[in-house]
């Protein structure tokens, strides 16, 4: 019999076993994977030593190409080569700016658009999953084993639909998502830990397709996001597009075929990049009809034609500061993230707003992935209690539609997550037995100006006089920033209750089907995989329950303990077997039997921690 080990809650009973975990920056333009090895975060490169994976996926009749190879074929096969797919996550066709200028064949589907390719109709979730799959395989090859999980970064300003889509993509790529982490928060973590920073910091993150700004307070191992703001449809791509439009204007060009659009967009991007170090750039291209484009653009001209884009980022930054109740002068340092912050006129604008030069001693392309890797290492339980605490917020208010098309806010933006809030409603007609509930996200007053997340109906309300029913709608946002809504009629003995996941979210069956489709995997393989997952989950629960019993068995009565032991034995009996359903049933029964135990342990750990506070205070006096 092994020695009893005192394990911290959530920690493995085998603390020395290093769990393989990665951080993934799933970017609009480029994606990266990083991990912590020997205590240090590092970006994992591909076999050719390249760290950045272009976020480009090319579908062919047979097979999929991801990254550099796909990017090289973009101009030649624009319709089947999907770039900047992040801009389509959780979005309909009407949400995508300049959709008419993109070379894709969009299919408008409920909730989220789709793309028609030579390999069939693909959702942005599937396209993103291809990118994530390549990074997972890269990490597993590099680390020499399967991953326990991954932290995937998302723009802080991503709404619920976009977050849900990202999590679905990761699941589809065969990744266990440890956490969705906001990109500026990941950057602050990497910067803060590296520099032992203390005080208020702002992270200005202008990526390929998204803009975020977060204001954080860093204090003794606590990273507290005070406010966040941004625009999930504003990024370096928009600067490219502005330059592209300028090329069309100057060259008097219109109605170009997709190949020429891709070519000129690439030339515009190259010119933008050149202008970060040179005073002017030349744009030369030969169009498919033989015409030549030959133009020169100066840095000042480029700055003035994109000034309105920079101004938008500054307004969002000011709003975030106001929400944090701070002035620019209160900010100790400004961390720049994202390739687009290399543009000199962007840097200058940020410096002018804060009255200080931004910090540039970090690689704006890698810092997010490195921070995500550090967090993944912590979440995997590899740090043995030497932890930091990360407190993040929701970027956009969550609410419900009320009479007259107005939105009633239930959880305001910048609320620390996880968060829950309930709101009571009543019926307005005698005998009303159902109520429509419309969940929205956004800051505006009118339903039409906010994003619709879900609609559902609460049925089975007992007939009562108007105004007598009490409908309690509860919003719960978890640590990933994902929302779950519950509604309940509380005035009657009968409780009608419904739980919803927003409508664009994929069900487990959808994921299974897509996995099968995309991998061309036989059903048997899929079953084998599901079985392995059940076995791992069962093993995890056995370890956790063992640890809990050895630490806190005194919290249970003899009868309760016997119940837990019996359920635990039942899981042990089937855990290594090959019957997935039996394992799941035993695991669910044990989980249910330990619910109350878990709550008591949590309470005890809080009491102990607070008692520690009092001891500290006594010691200090």
């Amino acid at each position: 019999m092994a020695l009893l080990q005192i394990a911290e809650p959530g920690m493995s009973t085998a603390p020395h076993q290093h769990r393989l975990a990665v951080g993934i920056d799933l970017g609009t333009t480029n994606s990266l994977v990083a991990t912590v090895r020997h205590g240090l975060p590092e970006v994992l490169a591909d076999a050719q030593g390249r760290a950045l994976l272009p976020s480009v996926v090319r579908y062919r009749g047979a097979g999929v190409e991801v990254g550099h190879g796909a990017q090289a074929q973009q101009a030649g096969d624009p319709r089947n080569t999907i770039s900047s797919v992040k801009r389509f996550m959780g979005r309909g066709v009407k949400d995508v700016a300049h959709a008419e200028n993109l070379p894709y064949d969009f299919v408008d589907a409920p909730g989220m658009l789709q793309l028609r390719t030579v390999a069939g109709i693909k959702s942005p979730v599937e396209v993103s999953a291809e990118i994530l799959k390549v990074l997972r395989v890269r990490a597993e090859a590099s680390l020499g084993g399967p991953l326990v999980g991954a932290v995937i970064t998302v723009p802080a300003y991503f709404d619920d639909a976009q977050r849900q889509a990202t999590r679905d993509a990761a699941r589809l790529a065969g990744l266990n998502v440890l956490r969705l982490l906001n990109e500026p928060t990941a950057a602050a973590l990497a910067y803060g830990l590296d520099n032992e920073a203390e005080g208020v910091y702002a992270v200005y993150d202008l990526g390929g397709g998204t803009f975020d700004v977060s204001v954080l307070r860093l204090r003794k191992g606590v990273f507290e996001v005070l406010a966040t703001g941004g625009d999930s449809a504003l990024g370096g791509d928009d600067f490219d597009h502005r330059l592209y439009c300028w090329i069309l204007e100057q060259g008097n060009l219109s109605l170009l075929p997709p190949e020429d659009q891709s070519l000129l967009t690439a030339r515009a991007r190259a010119a933008k990049e050149l202008l970060s170090s040179k005073g002017k750039a030349t744009i030369q291209a030969r169009l498919s009809d033989g015409r030549w484009v030959n133009l020169t653009i100066g840095a000042e001209g480029f700055a003035s034609m994109t000034q309105h884009l920079v101004a938008k980022t500054l307004e969002a930054t000011r709003q975030a500061l106001r929400d944090a109740q701070l002035k620019p002068a209160d900010v100790k340092g400004v961390v720049l993230v994202g390739g687009a912050t290399r543009m000199p006129h962007v840097r200058k604008a940020v410096a002018d707003l804060f009255g200080q030069a931004p910090l540039t001693n970090i690689d704006p392309d890698q810092v997010v992935a490195l921070g995500a890797a550090m967090q993944a290492n912590l979440l995997a339980g590899n740090r043995g209690g030497d932890d930091w605490l990360l407190l993040d917020v929701i970027p956009l208010s969550l609410g419900l539609e009320t009479m007259g098309g107005l939105v009633e806010k239930v959880i305001p933006r910048n609320s620390t997550i996880p968060a829950a809030r309930a709101q009571e409603f009543t019926t307005f007609k005698d005998g009303q037995t159902a109520m429509a509930i419309h969940v929205l996200q956004g800051e505006r007053e009118l339903v039409d100006h906010c994003r619709s997340l879900a609609r559902f109906e609460l049925r089975g309300i007992p007939p009562m006089a108007a105004g007598a029913a009490r409908i309690r709608v509860t919003f719960q946002v978890d640590a990933d920033g994902l929302l779950e809504v519950t509604a309940m009629e509380t005035a009657s003995a009968v409780q009608a209750r419904v739980e919803v996941k927003p409508s664009y979210g994929l069900g487990d069956e959808d994921i299974a089907r897509m996995l099968q489709d995309s991998l061309g995997t036989a059903e048997a393989d899929l079953r084998a995989r599901a079985l392995r997952e059940q076995q791992v989950d069962a093993q995890r629960l056995i370890e956790a329950t063992d640890a809990a019993l050895s630490a806190d068995a005194d919290l249970l009565s003899a009868a309760e303990r016997a119940e837990v032991e019996a359920r635990l034995a039942a899981v042990r009996a089937v855990a290594a077997g090959d019957e997935a359903d039996a394992i799941k049933a035993a695991v669910d029964a044990l989980a249910h039997a330990t619910d109350e135990f878990a709550a008591r342990r949590m309470d005890r750990s809080i009491r102990a921690a607070l008692a520690g506070r009092r001891v500290d205070e006594v010691m200090a006096r």
Partner: protein, 173 residues
């Protein structure tokens, strides 16, 4: 199903009083979150993850309420059977209403930012006075219905100072 949720004060280890040291509150909140935050349970079983989310949610809610003096007072009033009912109970003492009207007039007439700043100072002074009354009503006199009336007045004044801040912001932009 699980253990009854503790009230905001006992969750963070404070006696149910109005007077509260903000630094001690910050420290207690962080200590509790360090124990219960879902990040500590990311590779734990689904049951443990759910419990962690519930407790971290409670800790966030307790911190949100306790760090705001008005909400903290409202919480104490409710705990002692004197709910605020801010929406339905709008009965206010006459002098308070007269002062509110005078502020509204001053705001309408204020042309310069200097005049608005003076008004802001007056409102802040009144808020400070109400808060110190509130501390006495709750911690010394234990007069919760009286405290609830003061909370309603404070809600009025904070609404007004919020409007003032919005106007000042628009003026600055």
């Amino acid at each position: 199903m699980s253990a009854r949720a503790p009230d905001h004060f006992s969750l963070l280890g404070f006696a149910p009083r109005f007077a509260l040291d903000p630094q001690a509150l910050d420290a207690a909140y962080q200590r509790v979150q360090a124990q219960v935050h879902p990040d500590r349970f990311a590779v734990a079983s689904a049951a443990e993850r759910r419990v962690a989310m519930q407790w971290a949610t409670r800790a966030n809610e307790a911190y949100r309420v306790l760090r705001d003096p008005v909400q903290r007072a409202a919480c104490l009033c409710e705990m002692h059977g004197a709910p605020i009912e801010g929406e339905s109970n709008t009965a206010m003492p006459a002098p308070f209403l007269i002062q509110q009207m005078a502020w509204r007039e001053a705001l309408d007439e204020a042309g310069s930012s200097a005049e608005r700043e003076e008004l802001q100072r007056a409102v802040a002074g009144e808020q400070a006075r109400l808060l110190s009354d509130l501390e006495r009503k709750i911690d010394v006199e234990q007069d919760f219905p009286g405290a609830a009336a003061l909370v309603r007045q404070l809600m009025f004044t904070s609404k007004f100072s919020g409007e003032l801040a919005t106007i000042a912001q628009r003026g600055a932009a």
